[in-house]
């Protein structure tokens, strides 16, 4: 009996190993086939002096490409621009929480509201960007049509270095809150209601209980939004590129991915582009690791 049990368990463990491995391998295999090989090529390319889309005539140059990128003031500017545009992530999270909180109150038409809020998320970035470009258009846009005082020059929203990114932020907040609202909506309903009652008994007002109970309880959702938001924000490209294909006024539209895209497809400097990509990847991984480390201080998985 005893031996039998051990034997069966062993088989089971083995079966679990095999099945676990087999079932989980789809995406891993997909990555190995379609991701790993290009990635390895991209790593090689970052160490090569490569012009155009062929390895012919390219030689290894060590870290030269990395040096070139790191010495380029425009690369640093592109990082600043990207981070600035990434501010939308934080605004989105705060705003999404507020709206989701209001939705937990006993309101009718909750579903209708939620559905509306999520609509921007299903629209193509291209369509949305073109729409906002039109809205902020200097001469025919509705913003200037409404807000330009009589006799004053209309504001050139997309042409000024100091308004370009703020306009993108507005656009980002418009399209980015919906996802957070839905996630927070779920998280808020899952907060244990007995905690609130206990707080009420202790005489805490609603603000206090929100701060001390709700916020910690939904912190995993906040963390998820933060991580995915930051990873996405650091890879910003399409929106500024659609609005200004050349890089925006005073180069404020040059994000890191824009910088690498331009190096690759307009300047044909594949080595520089690859090095930029890896520098960006390092930045993203670094920030994510820091995020995870910090999360221990404020995220509570009860």
């Amino acid at each position: 009996m005893f031996i039998d049990k051990v034997y069966r368990k062993k088989i089971k463990v083995k079966r679990e190993e095999v099945f676990g491995f087999a079932l989980s391998m789809g995406p891993v295999l997909g990555f190995a086939l379609f991701g790993l090989i290009p990635m390895i090529l991209a790593i090689f390319m970052s160490f090569m002096d490569i012009y155009g889309f062929t390895f012919e005539g390219a030689g290894f140059v060590g870290f030269e490409n990395y040096g070139t990128v790191l010495k380029d003031p425009l690369f640093w500017k592109s990082i600043v621009n990207t981070l600035y545009m990434g501010v939308a992530t934080f605004i989105n999270i705060a705003l999404a929480l507020m709206v989701a909180f209001l939705l937990t109150k006993n309101v009718r038409g909750k579903k209708v509201f939620r559905t509306i809020y999520f609509i921007p998320y299903v629209c193509s970035v291209v369509a949305i960007t073109v729409m906002w470009q039109w809205i902020f258009n200097t001469n025919y846009g509705i913003i200037n049509a409404i807000f330009t005082p009589e006799g004053q020059e209309p504001v050139n929203w997309w042409g000024r270095a100091d308004t370009f990114i703020p306009c993108l932020l507005i656009m980002g907040v418009w399209s980015g809150t919906g996802y957070g609202i839905i996630l927070y909506g779920a998280a808020l309903t899952n907060v244990n209601s007995s905690l609130y009652e206990a707080a009420k008994v202790d005489g805490a007002n609603s603000f206090k209980s929100f701060w001390h109970i709700t916020i910690p309880a939904i912190s995993p959702t906040t963390f998820y939004l933060l991580i995915t938001g930051i990873i996405g924000a650091l890879q910003e490209f399409a929106r500024p590129q659609i609005i200004s294909g050349s890089g925006g006024p005073d180069n404020v539209g040059v994000t890191v991915v824009f910088y690498l895209y331009r190096s690759a497809f307009q300047y044909y400097e594949m080595g520089i582009a690859s090095a930029t990509a890896w520098l960006l990847a390092i930045l993203i991984v670094g920030l994510t690791v820091i995020n995870f480390a910090m999360s221990k201080l404020w995220v509570s998985y009860d």
Binding site: G26, G35, M39, V99, I116, P120, V257, W278
Partner: protein, 300 residues
């Protein structure tokens, strides 16, 4: 005294009632304002699409068109690209192509991802954490850089000019989807799996008979997200599909926009029409969709 007391009581309850009404009004106002903020930009597009070309760039701004014009929509539904002599409107053909190209990888990829997520969440096997971290890392590498090597590899395989580069990779699942589904499955009590095991269920059967039915909303949510992502993809089809007969809806829209670039209402009409299928799918499935996102728990 007594009268007075009851009067006071009345005022107190009235007060709470008033306070409730006031706060509810404030909440509704905020929610409605937020809805307006989301919808207002669309209204711009919708209204503009019904204007005449001339009125769309009228320096004196009218919100509603002076004369409603449906010319833009007529163009959308009759526009044939002019390259091949086919009579099928490009936008319609583009929509059908999009379905053919996007649906299979979405559905198969969803299945593969879910399976993988189940394994990562509930099964013990060697290298589990390594593989999972590797998948997460792939989310952090800018995809733009893989464009060139990927293209050259697909080209070597002879896949350019076919939808394969847009379809096959997706069929192996997606890291984001695995990530999401793993959160979901982690929330399902392990005891359920153990009980099923005791009933003699195999690991795949547990996935198929227990996990999948339990996660239908989540799968729906991911499926829709994946479909909408593929539906809205422009650059991939542009890079790999050169045959007009394979143009997706977004490519058709781009071609349409290029043709009517100077006619803003027509362009807006095209953009709106291209938006509608995604919107319809979302609204029809939104119950599952929101439920699916909501139940995942979001624990990392």
């Amino acid at each position: 005294m007594i009268k007075n007391e009851s009067g006071l009581k009345l005022t107190a309850s009235k007060m709470t009632k008033i306070r409730k009404i006031v706060s509810l009004t404030l909440i509704y106002t905020a929610l409605v304002l937020f809805a307006i903020w989301i919808l207002a930009p669309f209204s711009m597009v919708i209204i503009t699409s019904f204007k005449t070309r001339k009125e769309a760039s009228d320096p004196v701004f009218h919100f509603f068109p002076e004369k409603w014009s449906f010319d833009g929509y007529k163009e959308v539904f009759t526009y044939t690209s002019g390259v091949d002599d086919s009579e099928i409107p490009v936008m319609l053909k583009g929509f059908l192509n999009t379905l053919i190209i996007v649906l299979p990888p979405t559905i198969i990829g969803l299945f593969v991802s879910a399976m993988s997520a189940y394994a990562f969440a509930k099964l013990r096997f060697k290298g589990k954490n390594v593989f999972f971290s590797a998948l997460l890392l792939t989310m952090m590498i800018p995809g733009t850089i893989m464009l060139t090597p990927s293209y050259l590899i697909y080209d070597m395989l002879g896949w350019v000019d076919t939808p394969l580069p847009l379809m096959l990779p997706g069929m192996f699942g997606a890291a984001t989807c695995v990530f999401f589904m793993r959160q979901f499955y982690a929330g399902i009590p392990t005891s359920l799996v153990e009980a099923a095991k005791l009933d003699g269920m195999g690991y795949f059967k547990i996935f198929w008979k227990i996990m999948v039915p339990l996660s239908v909303p989540a799968l729906f949510a991911q499926g829709i997200l994946g479909f909408i992502g593929g539906y809205n993809d422009y650059f991939g089809p542009y890079l790999y599909l050169h045959e007009p007969e394979w143009y997706t809806l977004q490519l058709a829209l781009a071609s349409f926009k290029g043709t009517y670039s100077y006619n803003i209402p027509t362009v807006m009409a095209g953009a709106l029409v291209a938006l509608i299928p995604a919107l319809v799918i979302y609204i029809v499935a939104q119950k599952y969709f929101i439920e699916g996102i909501a139940t995942s728990g979001m624990k990392i």
